[in-house]
Point group: C2
Chain length 332, copies 2
């Protein structure tokens, strides 16, 4: 257990996803004191989700036997494009949000300053500052969850590009004639290796008569399917699920090869919920495929690894964001 | 005509390609005074090619009615990985070279300091410093010739990455299950849109009975086919060639979308021999496809254009390299 914390030195990081909201309570040294998770329920609309974020924050603090009045700042990583200055979610297709001033609403409700960033930017910042201690100078983060996003550290700094939207690696086409993606492109990386892609593939196959241990575990409709269920099925010898996950890992390896060829990073860190649940099945295949497909020499000395922070990267990075704003420094 | 130049203020830029060697004579302000082109003939081996580079340099100087003794430095852009410190080509598959100390050999022969860089790095530097006057801060260069390479300017500086090999965009996979590429990957961008890919596609179709104006122009074997011949055939109404070139442009547009999603540059500049010859057929299709395939908003305010320097980007950048070394500054 960490030492008891000073009464007013807490930061909260929130990972707002399309499926779940995770809130973590951190001390100033960014030790995680406790966390709380609830479902997002985006179908309840903007006000419903904002109310659930507030509840998740309150419950996380309560879980740690602490008080909201001890919290100096709250950071939120949101899935989509954001205006960090005004704390507005500009466009988040997984939530069905456009132009939602989430930071202002929550600041009013919780009486604590709330800051907003894109979820992958925040996860990259969390991995970089807390897990990697800002060591390597050029790092590529690949976050595989409901969707797939990336983060780039170049010369020790978060890279946003001219457009502010750099790092959208989930919409890199890996198959020119592949299926149409919601983004307007075809055959995107995300359409092959995200949780959504994995679950769609499995559900379609089951409907077509494919047998899998998952239906024994969860019923024929595979309601409430989670990435962790795939791991359990593979451990119990489900060859079909193993094959589906291996194929996703091969696409991920091809994506790593592309990105290493283009960016020449020092380190590639894989994170997100899918990697957390399935890295024992995926990581070796990702590395092997990347080695087969990258340019000769391009992977020499390049460290490819799964993030230790796993699903906590988002809340950790969001806490980094909150702390940096209190110190008057802007993260990245 | 430029003003007469000071007697000892010349720089020479050499673009060493798998097919041809181009040498340009520049004054200190990087005005091109004249150039000379000969075929590379890599089948004659390392010594043969080095002798041809020296001859091309001498002939370029002679063409301008100038003397080699007036030349302060020579820069060479070579197609492959290079060690810029020792002036060694480490690996250049199009030349069949491994570990060739080309700068030392040529310095000895020509009695002028010779400097070496990767050809795409050098082309990017030429486009950036001479054509763009170092204006935009984040620029992506895509150079389409015998192969396809890229160059990245990030925060106003040439970006090499940790590995020194960043920018290998020609080996970005665009078709996961596509044909095997020489680099070990499958379905690379280069395999769809390089001069080699275009010519292979046309020659194979002709062998299978496809009719095209090119065989009228050049004979059935299409020997000595050049990118410019494709432009002539399209202008004369050759629908097959127009279709082949349009398809290459669509793959190029998909590559631009990927790279804009990943890098968020301010400007995308397309150069190289294929773009020079075919930009009137390709550029609009590239831009249209990129707009269809990039993330919503990712191309907002992003300038996509063909380089004015076209095939002179390589010699211009090589001259920038030579000049920067004389001034004691390293290019990039």
């Amino acid at each position: 257990m960490p030492e008891p914390v000073a009464k007013s030195d807490l930061f909260i990081g929130v990972d707002l996803g399309g499926t779940k909201i995770l809130a973590g309570v951190f001390d100033r040294q960014l030790n995680l004191l406790g966390s709380y998770k609830i479902s997002t329920k985006p179908q309840r609309g903007v006000d419903g989700v904002i109310e659930r974020i507030a509840r998740c924050v309150r419950d996380a603090v309560d879980e740690c036997d602490l008080e909201l009045s001890q919290v100096k700042g709250i950071g939120i990583g949101a899935p989509g494009s954001v205006d960090t200055e005004t704390g507005t979610v500009l466009f988040a297709p997984n939530l069905g949000w456009r132009d939602v001033g989430v930071a202002r609403e929550l600041t009013k409700d919780l009486k604590v300053p709330v800051h907003l960033e894109n979820d992958c930017t925040v996860s990259m910042q969390g991995v970089y500052e807390v897990e990697l201690q800002s060591g390597p100078k050029n790092v590529l983060g690949i976050f595989i969850g409901t969707g797939i996003g990336g983060g780039l550290i170049i010369d020790g700094k978060m890279y946003h590009g001219f457009t502010g939207c750099a790092g959208e690696i989930g919409h890199m086409v890996l198959d020119f004639n592949g299926p149409k993606c919601g983004c307007g492109n075809r055959g995107c990386f995300e359409a092959f290796a995200s949780r959504t892609a994995l679950f769609n593939r499995i559900r379609t196959a089951v409907k077509e008569g494919q047998s899998t241990l998952l239906t024994e575990m969860l019923g024929k409709d595979l309601e409430d399917l989670r990435s962790g269920d795939l791991r359990k099925a593979i451990r119990r010898g489900d060859k079909f699920i193993a094959k589906v996950v291996e194929e996703a890992a091969r696409y991920t390896g091809a994506a790593v090869a592309n990105l290493v060829n283009i960016l020449g990073p020092e380190m590639v860190v894989l994170g997100g919920g899918v990697m957390e649940a399935l890295s024992e099945s995926m990581l070796d295949v990702v590395i092997k495929t990347a080695r087969e497909r990258a340019m000769p020499g391009a992977l020499k000395g390049v460290d490819i690894r799964a993030s230790r922070l796993a699903d906590e990267a988002g809340i950790t990075g969001a806490a980094v964001l909150a702390r940096s704003r209190v110190k008057g420094e802007k993260a990245g």
